[in-house]
Amino acid sequence: MITDEHYESLFAFCRKHYVQYYDVQVELADHLSAAIEERMSNNPKLSFEQALDAVYAGFGIKGFADIVAAREKMVSKQCRKQKWKLFFSYFTVPKIAMTICLYAVLLLLGKILAQDFHRIVLLSAIGFCLIIFEIIHSLKNSKLFKKQIKAMLYTGDRLNGLISSSVIIQITLSSRISKVIDLNVFNYFDYAIISFILLLMFVNILAHRDFIKELYNSAIEKYPLAFSK
């Protein structure tokens, strides 16, 4: 059996060989320690360092590079898939009821507000609220992961996928406002389309929030030592 110090030194060995992520290090350290122990039990004269060198040689000329690259690709694809799944969950039963209700309320408000200018003001206000909501969500997100003390590929994707929404809101609204100013045209159809885009942005934020919650719970369960108590 290798000692606890030897086991800890395997994490340093991984870092030395360009594996900076704790979740990858955990698997490699376990693999290395099991392989080293077997080599040392087969040949008791072998030192820990000699056994480690021999085991590492088995990883081939690229060392850990292929494993890290494959894991990066896997995590990125998995996160993208999960984000889309959560996004589309707002368009399937039962969450679709909430989505339809929200859109109906927006359309109703558009009908009540007869003047184009008032509709533009309402959409701008909703867009502004969405940006604020997004900022609050991002702050909560970073607070939640403050306890994470070790970098992990598994949670690295949490910041991707939100930045675009506020930008889209800005572009959509500013282009429409300039259209109204220039041509004095902003009919109910325009209002309905922009409302729908805003609704999609809101759903995107909600889906991202769900994703972060799932990711956090899963990361805590799988890698508790990566978080401070």
Partner: protein
């Protein structure tokens, strides 16, 4: 690339996935090193799966939802276990059928007399 330390490695290319699926089906959950050793033991040292082939494939299978992972503390050590998902169990049956059909086809090529019967 897939399997090293054997002269006929190219013959085994493409078979690594069904091999791993079969192992996971038979043993429930396994960790990476355990898989390499089990394959080595079963084939009496004929087949050695390299780490550079094993982990990228396991990660690919995890991304496809065929395998799932759980971690467990073993003393002060953390170990990551792989097991088949529901979809993975179905996929294993398909992979085994494909493997048998492939072996049958090879048999016909290697021993044409069987095909003529």
């Amino acid at each position: 690339m897939y399997i090293c330390s054997m002269k006929k490695s190219s013959l085994y290319k493409g078979c690594l996935e069904p091999i791993l699926l079969r192992l996971l089906k038979d043993h429930g959950r396994m960790y990476g090193y355990q898989m390499t050793q089990m394959v080595k033991d079963i084939t009496k040292g004929e087949l050695n799966i390299t780490e550079g082939a094993l982990y990228p494939l396991l990660h690919k299978l995890e991304e496809q939802g065929i395998v799932e992972t759980e971690t467990e503390m073993n003393g002060n050590r953390m170990r990551k276990y792989y097991s088949l998902t529901k979809a993975g169990k179905k996929q294993t049956s398909i992979a085994m059928d494909e493997m048998k059909a492939f072996m049958q086809s090879l048999e016909y090529i290697v021993n044409p007399k069987i095909a003529l019967r």
